[in-house]
């Protein structure tokens, strides 16, 4: 039981040839343009569009062809165009949200976009709630993880 477990935030960054405001707009309001919906969404073929409301308390959600809305998360901090933070809780199912912060820093030839996903280990506790592997929202994240691990 002495195996080291790394629970530190997951950090990813990407350099893009846009200024911070454009990079911010693309990441948020234009989410639907680039998000890999076919692999990373709850609705998959039922999905009509992704909506990212860039205001404090704004929702990030999927709108399906049947008109229903399915939440991904909620904006908790916004400092346009420098950063945006949101609680990430697909379909409100994990009992505790994980936390995502995205920062946009101007560089010589564009913007460095850095994404930090923290509190993700809370997803491990979700299975204890018993709703775990049986709910669509949870499958969104852990289903694929379990498949990969099998």
């Amino acid at each position: 039981m002495s195996t080291f477990v790394d629970l530190s935030p997951i950090v990813r960054s990407v350099q893009v040839p846009l200024d911070p405001e454009e990079a911010f707009t693309l990441f948020t309001e234009a989410l639907d343009e680039w998000w890999p919906k076919e692999v990373h969404s709850m609705g998959e073929e039922k999905l009509a569009e992704l909506v990212f409301e860039t205001e404090l308390g704004g929702r990030i959600f999927e709108r399906w062809h049947d008109g229903s809305e399915h939440d991904w998360g909620r904006v908790v901090e916004i400092d346009r165009p420098r950063s945006i933070s949101y609680d990430w809780q697909p379909n409100d199912l994990p009992p505790r949200p994980t936390f995502i912060q995205v920062t946009f820093t101007a560089t010589e030839d564009g913007t460095e976009v850095r994404l930090e996903h923290s509190r993700w280990e809370a997803l491990g506790d979700e299975a204890e709630e018993g709703r775990g592997g049986y709910s669509k929202g949870w499958q969104f994240v852990l289903g694929r993880f379990v498949e990969a691990a099998a």
């Binding site: 893009v16 976009v113 506790d125 299975a127 018993g130 691990a149």
Partner: protein, 85 residues
């Protein structure tokens, strides 16, 4: 349940003693955790010892890293398309 198992492998009865739920309820939790790959069990004498499968968190981390890599790759492509418009 995961909290109880942090100290090390334990049988169902020991876990149930430390929680305000019945032993069958603990067994039910353990079945779900095992199906999700978060705990594993090993026979010891006439009982089974349950322990946290630490690799599970490492796998979850690795899954989420690849999740964001895929998403940000899409973002970068869209950004490059926008910049050449």
């Amino acid at each position: 349940v995961l909290e109880c198992l942090k100290a090390g492998p334990q049988p169902v009865v020991e876990i149930a003693k430390r929680l305000p739920v019945s032993r069958p309820a603990v067994s039910q939790h353990l079945r779900i955790l095992k199906a999700a790959g978060l705990v594993e069990d090993h026979p010891q004498g006439n009982r089974r010892l349950y322990s946290v499968r630490r690799e599970a968190l490492a796998e979850l981390r690795s899954y989420l890293e690849s999740y964001w890599d895929t998403a940000l790759a899409g973002y970068k492509v869209a950004a490059e398309e926008r910049s050449t418009r």
